[in-house]
Subunit: 144 residues, 2 copies
Protein backbone atom coordinates (compact mmCIF):
# COMPACT_ATOMS: atom_id res chain seq x y z
CA UNK A 1 0.00 0.00 0.00
CA UNK A 2 1.67 3.13 -1.27
CA UNK A 3 1.15 6.41 0.55
CA UNK A 4 0.30 9.05 -2.04
CA UNK A 5 -0.27 11.95 0.32
CA UNK A 6 3.21 13.18 1.12
CA UNK A 7 2.23 16.66 2.09
CA UNK A 8 0.64 17.88 5.29
CA UNK A 9 2.33 15.49 7.66
CA UNK A 10 3.56 18.71 9.17
CA UNK A 11 0.15 20.41 8.93
CA UNK A 12 -1.44 17.43 10.64
CA UNK A 13 1.04 17.52 13.49
CA UNK A 14 0.64 21.26 13.96
CA UNK A 15 -3.12 21.01 14.14
CA UNK A 16 -2.80 18.19 16.67
CA UNK A 17 -0.55 20.40 18.74
CA UNK A 18 -3.29 23.04 18.88
CA UNK A 19 -1.57 25.45 16.53
CA UNK A 20 -4.27 27.88 15.42
CA UNK A 21 -4.49 27.41 11.67
CA UNK A 22 -4.72 30.43 9.40
CA UNK A 23 -4.32 30.76 5.65
CA UNK A 24 -0.93 32.43 6.23
CA UNK A 25 0.40 29.80 8.61
CA UNK A 26 -0.77 27.10 6.27
CA UNK A 27 1.15 28.41 3.26
CA UNK A 28 4.32 28.89 5.31
CA UNK A 29 4.07 25.32 6.55
CA UNK A 30 3.31 24.09 3.04
CA UNK A 31 6.33 25.86 1.60
CA UNK A 32 8.57 24.13 4.13
CA UNK A 33 6.89 20.75 3.97
CA UNK A 34 8.01 18.17 1.46
CA UNK A 35 11.57 18.06 0.14
CA UNK A 36 14.42 18.84 2.48
CA UNK A 37 15.33 22.36 1.53
CA UNK A 38 17.15 25.04 3.47
CA UNK A 39 15.44 28.29 2.59
CA UNK A 40 16.09 31.76 3.92
CA UNK A 41 13.18 33.67 5.44
CA UNK A 42 13.04 35.75 2.31
CA UNK A 43 12.90 32.73 0.04
CA UNK A 44 10.06 31.38 2.16
CA UNK A 45 8.34 34.74 1.82
CA UNK A 46 8.71 34.73 -1.96
CA UNK A 47 7.28 31.23 -2.29
CA UNK A 48 4.49 31.98 0.15
CA UNK A 49 3.59 35.08 -1.85
CA UNK A 50 3.07 32.92 -4.92
CA UNK A 51 0.26 31.10 -3.08
CA UNK A 52 -1.09 33.95 -1.00
CA UNK A 53 -0.05 37.32 -2.45
CA UNK A 54 -1.19 39.44 0.49
CA UNK A 55 0.90 37.69 3.14
CA UNK A 56 3.33 39.99 4.92
CA UNK A 57 6.98 39.52 5.74
CA UNK A 58 6.31 39.97 9.47
CA UNK A 59 3.88 37.06 9.38
CA UNK A 60 6.42 34.84 7.68
CA UNK A 61 8.98 35.71 10.34
CA UNK A 62 6.42 35.07 13.07
CA UNK A 63 5.40 31.70 11.68
CA UNK A 64 9.01 30.60 11.18
CA UNK A 65 9.85 31.60 14.73
CA UNK A 66 6.95 29.58 16.08
CA UNK A 67 7.79 26.53 14.02
CA UNK A 68 11.31 26.74 15.42
CA UNK A 69 10.06 27.00 19.03
CA UNK A 70 7.79 24.06 18.42
CA UNK A 71 10.80 22.08 17.27
CA UNK A 72 9.24 21.45 13.86
CA UNK A 73 11.83 23.46 11.99
CA UNK A 74 15.54 23.96 12.60
CA UNK A 75 17.38 27.24 12.28
CA UNK A 76 20.69 26.85 10.48
CA UNK A 77 23.29 29.60 10.81
CA UNK A 78 25.79 29.56 7.98
CA UNK A 79 28.33 32.31 7.40
CA UNK A 80 25.83 33.93 5.07
CA UNK A 81 24.00 36.77 6.68
CA UNK A 82 20.59 35.13 6.47
CA UNK A 83 19.54 32.21 8.63
CA UNK A 84 18.17 29.16 6.85
CA UNK A 85 15.11 27.18 7.88
CA UNK A 86 15.28 23.42 7.80
CA UNK A 87 12.05 21.40 7.96
CA UNK A 88 13.99 18.17 8.45
CA UNK A 89 13.83 18.36 12.23
CA UNK A 90 12.91 14.75 12.83
CA UNK A 91 15.87 12.78 11.53
CA UNK A 92 19.02 14.15 13.11
CA UNK A 93 21.61 15.08 10.54
CA UNK A 94 24.42 17.48 9.75
CA UNK A 95 25.28 19.72 6.83
CA UNK A 96 27.66 19.92 3.92
CA UNK A 97 27.85 23.30 2.30
CA UNK A 98 29.49 24.79 -0.75
CA UNK A 99 31.71 27.75 0.12
CA UNK A 100 31.18 29.22 -3.32
CA UNK A 101 27.48 29.00 -4.19
CA UNK A 102 26.02 28.32 -0.75
CA UNK A 103 24.29 25.04 -1.61
CA UNK A 104 23.46 22.95 1.45
CA UNK A 105 23.05 19.17 1.62
CA UNK A 106 22.00 17.00 4.51
CA UNK A 107 24.65 14.48 5.52
CA UNK A 108 24.77 11.63 8.00
CA UNK A 109 28.30 11.13 9.27
CA UNK A 110 29.16 7.97 11.15
CA UNK A 111 30.23 8.28 14.77
CA UNK A 112 28.93 10.39 17.61
CA UNK A 113 30.67 13.74 17.99
CA UNK A 114 29.20 14.15 21.49
CA UNK A 115 31.12 11.08 22.59
CA UNK A 116 34.25 12.71 21.18
CA UNK A 117 34.15 15.57 23.70
CA UNK A 118 35.72 14.28 26.91
CA UNK A 119 34.63 15.65 30.28
CA UNK A 120 37.96 17.42 30.60
CA UNK A 121 37.01 19.45 27.51
CA UNK A 122 33.54 20.41 28.75
CA UNK A 123 34.62 23.05 31.27
CA UNK A 124 31.59 22.50 33.46
CA UNK A 125 29.13 23.07 30.63
CA UNK A 126 25.96 21.02 30.39
CA UNK A 127 26.35 20.01 26.76
CA UNK A 128 23.04 19.44 25.01
CA UNK A 129 23.81 19.17 21.35
CA UNK A 130 26.31 19.41 18.57
CA UNK A 131 26.30 20.62 14.99
CA UNK A 132 28.79 19.49 12.40
CA UNK A 133 29.28 21.59 9.28
CA UNK A 134 31.39 20.29 6.45
CA UNK A 135 32.61 22.84 3.93
CA UNK A 136 33.87 22.42 0.43
CA UNK A 137 32.98 22.88 -3.20
CA UNK A 138 29.95 21.27 -4.80
CA UNK A 139 30.42 19.36 -8.08
CA UNK A 140 29.31 22.38 -10.13
CA UNK A 141 31.65 24.80 -8.37
CA UNK A 142 34.59 22.38 -8.45
CA UNK A 143 34.66 22.24 -12.25
CA UNK A 144 33.74 25.87 -12.97
Amino acid sequence: MVRLVVMSDLLERLRGRGWRMTAQRRVVAEVLDGEHVHLTADEVYTRATARLPEISRATVYNALGELVSLGEVLEVATDDRAKRYDPNAHRPHHHLLCSRCGTIRDVHPTGDPLADLPDSERFGFTVSGVEVTYRGLCPDCTTT
Copy 2:
Protein backbone atom coordinates in the same frame (compact mmCIF):
# COMPACT_ATOMS: atom_id res chain seq x y z
CA MET B 1 64.99 30.64 28.71
CA VAL B 2 61.55 32.11 29.11
CA ARG B 3 59.94 34.02 26.29
CA LEU B 4 58.63 37.28 27.70
CA VAL B 5 57.46 38.84 24.46
CA VAL B 6 54.12 37.22 23.84
CA MET B 7 52.71 39.95 21.70
CA SER B 8 53.37 40.72 18.07
CA ASP B 9 53.90 37.20 16.85
CA LEU B 10 50.99 38.10 14.66
CA LEU B 11 52.38 41.55 13.82
CA GLU B 12 55.68 39.97 12.86
CA ARG B 13 54.03 37.49 10.56
CA LEU B 14 51.91 40.15 8.91
CA ARG B 15 54.90 42.35 8.23
CA GLY B 16 56.72 39.38 6.76
CA ARG B 17 53.79 38.75 4.49
CA GLY B 18 54.10 42.27 3.12
CA TRP B 19 51.00 43.61 4.85
CA ARG B 20 51.28 47.36 4.66
CA MET B 21 51.44 48.47 8.28
CA THR B 22 49.42 51.44 9.45
CA ALA B 23 48.55 52.65 12.92
CA GLN B 24 44.99 51.40 12.41
CA ARG B 25 45.95 47.94 11.23
CA ARG B 26 48.41 47.63 14.06
CA VAL B 27 45.84 48.29 16.79
CA VAL B 28 43.35 45.88 15.24
CA ALA B 29 46.01 43.18 15.11
CA GLU B 30 47.08 44.00 18.67
CA VAL B 31 43.52 43.74 19.97
CA LEU B 32 43.23 40.27 18.49
CA ASP B 33 46.69 39.07 19.40
CA GLY B 34 47.33 37.38 22.71
CA GLU B 35 44.61 35.46 24.54
CA HIS B 36 42.18 33.36 22.59
CA VAL B 37 39.07 35.48 22.58
CA HIS B 38 36.13 35.53 20.19
CA LEU B 39 35.21 39.18 19.76
CA THR B 40 32.56 40.72 17.55
CA ALA B 41 33.61 43.41 15.09
CA ASP B 42 32.07 45.98 17.37
CA GLU B 43 33.97 44.72 20.39
CA VAL B 44 37.16 44.94 18.37
CA TYR B 45 36.19 48.47 17.38
CA THR B 46 35.60 49.48 20.99
CA ARG B 47 38.94 48.10 22.14
CA ALA B 48 40.74 49.60 19.17
CA THR B 49 39.20 52.98 19.95
CA ALA B 50 40.75 52.86 23.40
CA ARG B 51 44.18 52.81 21.79
CA LEU B 52 43.50 54.95 18.73
CA PRO B 53 40.39 57.07 19.26
CA GLU B 54 40.07 58.29 15.68
CA ILE B 55 39.89 54.85 14.04
CA SER B 56 36.72 54.24 12.07
CA ARG B 57 34.39 51.27 12.01
CA ALA B 58 34.92 50.81 8.28
CA THR B 59 38.64 50.42 8.84
CA VAL B 60 38.08 47.82 11.54
CA TYR B 61 35.84 45.87 9.18
CA ASN B 62 38.41 46.20 6.40
CA ALA B 63 41.28 45.00 8.58
CA LEU B 64 39.26 42.09 9.96
CA GLY B 65 38.28 41.05 6.45
CA GLU B 66 41.89 41.10 5.34
CA LEU B 67 43.10 39.12 8.33
CA VAL B 68 40.46 36.55 7.52
CA SER B 69 41.54 36.33 3.86
CA LEU B 70 45.13 35.98 4.97
CA GLY B 71 44.08 33.06 7.14
CA GLU B 72 45.36 34.77 10.28
CA VAL B 73 41.93 35.10 11.84
CA LEU B 74 38.88 32.84 11.69
CA GLU B 75 35.33 34.02 11.26
CA VAL B 76 32.95 32.21 13.56
CA ALA B 77 29.23 32.35 12.76
CA THR B 78 27.09 31.64 15.80
CA ASP B 79 23.33 32.08 15.85
CA ASP B 80 23.91 35.56 17.21
CA ARG B 81 23.60 38.21 14.59
CA ALA B 82 27.21 39.36 14.80
CA LYS B 83 30.10 37.29 13.52
CA ARG B 84 32.97 36.63 15.90
CA TYR B 85 36.64 36.90 15.07
CA ASP B 86 38.98 34.22 16.32
CA PRO B 87 42.75 34.86 16.30
CA ASN B 88 43.46 31.22 17.15
CA ALA B 89 43.82 30.20 13.52
CA HIS B 90 46.96 28.14 13.94
CA ARG B 91 45.95 25.31 16.23
CA PRO B 92 42.88 23.65 14.78
CA HIS B 93 40.05 23.46 17.28
CA HIS B 94 36.29 23.56 17.64
CA HIS B 95 33.84 25.49 19.79
CA LEU B 96 31.59 25.01 22.77
CA LEU B 97 29.06 27.74 23.24
CA CYS B 98 26.52 28.69 25.84
CA SER B 99 23.02 29.01 24.38
CA ARG B 100 22.08 31.48 27.08
CA CYS B 101 24.90 34.00 27.48
CA GLY B 102 26.82 33.36 24.28
CA THR B 103 30.16 32.50 25.89
CA ILE B 104 32.49 30.62 23.56
CA ARG B 105 35.28 28.25 24.54
CA ASP B 106 37.82 26.48 22.38
CA VAL B 107 37.59 22.71 22.60
CA HIS B 108 39.64 19.87 21.19
CA PRO B 109 37.47 16.83 20.63
CA THR B 110 39.10 13.47 20.00
CA GLY B 111 38.57 11.83 16.64
CA ASP B 112 38.50 13.22 13.14
CA PRO B 113 35.07 14.27 11.92
CA LEU B 114 36.34 14.39 8.32
CA ALA B 115 37.03 10.68 8.51
CA ASP B 116 33.44 10.22 9.69
CA LEU B 117 32.01 11.44 6.39
CA PRO B 118 32.08 8.50 3.97
CA ASP B 119 32.43 9.10 0.24
CA SER B 120 28.82 8.07 -0.22
CA GLU B 121 27.82 11.06 1.89
CA ARG B 122 29.97 13.58 0.03
CA PHE B 123 27.79 13.88 -3.08
CA GLY B 124 30.70 14.79 -5.32
CA PHE B 125 31.80 17.70 -3.14
CA THR B 126 35.48 18.43 -2.62
CA VAL B 127 35.36 18.62 1.16
CA SER B 128 37.98 20.93 2.59
CA GLY B 129 37.10 21.40 6.22
CA VAL B 130 34.70 20.84 9.03
CA GLU B 131 33.46 22.83 12.01
CA VAL B 132 32.01 21.24 15.09
CA THR B 133 29.91 23.39 17.41
CA TYR B 134 28.85 22.03 20.75
CA ARG B 135 25.98 23.81 22.46
CA GLY B 136 24.91 23.82 26.05
CA LEU B 137 24.86 25.90 29.20
CA CYS B 138 28.00 27.27 30.81
CA PRO B 139 28.53 26.70 34.56
CA ASP B 140 27.14 30.16 35.39
CA CYS B 141 24.02 29.74 33.28
CA THR B 142 23.40 26.18 34.49
CA THR B 143 23.00 27.28 38.11
CA THR B 144 21.22 30.58 37.49
